[in-house]
């Protein structure tokens, strides 16, 4: 089974990389991009029987820094 974890900077935490991407899109002529937030996706290949709670524990301990980041877990 697989899990996909999305990690994003929390709202209210400045994302200078997202800002730089927004500027670059504007420079390329893409209009109307009001904001860009950049995050990361972490894919986990898990042994059968692993639970979403296991992945949540991984996020809390290592995969996300909850001082600045939020995360969502998708199991498939």
């Amino acid at each position: 089974m697989k899990a996909r974890v999305h990690v994003m900077l929390k709202n209210g935490v400045l994302d200078p990389q997202g800002e730089a991407v927004r500027h670059a899109l504007g420079a390329l002529g893409f209009e109307g991009v009001q904001s860009v937030r950049q995050g990361k996706v972490i894919e986990l290949d898990l042994a059968e029987g692993s639970s979403e709670a296991d992945v949540t524990a991984m996020c809390e301990k290592l995969l996300a820094n909850t001082v600045i980041e939020s995360y969502t877990v998708e199991m498939s």
């Binding site: 900077l9 935490v13 400045l14 200078p16 990389q17 730089a20 301990k61 290592l62 995969l63 820094n65 001082v67 600045i68």
Partner: protein
């Protein structure tokens, strides 16, 4: 004073930090990230700058889970001293020994130059050699030095006199111009600037010397 300096794969300021401790009179032992115990009788652990584990995942995140850092945490919880510089500061926030986190610099660029720091408190064994309000010149060299914490945490740090140093001209977007902070018991200091790079006349500046001397003074008589 007995000091231990932690070496991770990717540390690059470990030897400079050891030299600065030695110059202040410390006996220094290097400890490897896979070691699980600190040497007996260590007063202070230095966590040096660099790019531990290639900055994978987040700066300091993997180092914070290494065997040696578990014993550094236990050492701090027993009231031991810890000095984390640059990547070492990032490691300390990732372990939770210090609050907040270090984000990418607001200008997105890696910055390597000497900056002015205002000493905010002389009430710690790290900063007792300065007067509050002194401006000292210390080099910075980082890409992720933009200190972030929520409003409540910033207010608590300020209210408890735990901001050790602020930038006189904020280079990286850090909240409240914060360059270095102390733990509640004032025995753990994390700072982005490198006092060990301003510790010898050959460095072009010696404003960092007072930090190591103050520590040596406090920890030798203790």
């Amino acid at each position: 004073m007995r000091a231990a300096v932690v070496v991770f794969p990717g540390s690059n300021c470990d030897r400079d930090l050891a030299v600065a401790f030695e110059a202040a009179g410390a006996e220094v032992e290097m400890v490897w990230h896979k070691d699980s115990e600190l040497p007996q009788g260590v007063d202070i652990v230095g966590i040096p700058g660099g790019f531990s584990y290639g900055d994978y995942l987040r700066c300091g995140a993997i180092a914070a889970q290494s065997p040696i850092v578990r014993s550094v945490k236990a050492h701090a919880e027993r009231g031991g001293y810890v000095l984390g510089i640059c990547n070492g500061f990032q490691v300390l926030t990732e372990t939770g020994l210090l609050p907040g986190a270090l984000l990418r610099n607001a200008g997105l660029k890696y910055i390597c130059r000497t900056v002015g720091l205002e000493v905010q408190t002389s009430d710690s064994d790290f900063t007792a050699g300065y007067n509050a309000g002194d401006v000292i010149n210390i080099p910075i060299a980082h890409h992720d030095g933009n200190y972030f914490a929520d409003d409540e945490t910033i207010a608590r740090l300020q209210g408890e006199d735990r901001v050790a140093f602020t930038y006189t001209d904020n280079p990286n977007g850090a909240r409240a111009d914060i360059a270095g902070i102390l733990s509640q018991n004032r025995r753990v200091l994390g700072m982005m600037p490198h006092p060990e790079r301003a510790a010898d006349a050959g460095h072009g500046g010696t404003d960092g010397v007072a930090l190591f001397r103050a520590l040596a003074g406090a920890l030798t008589t203790a």
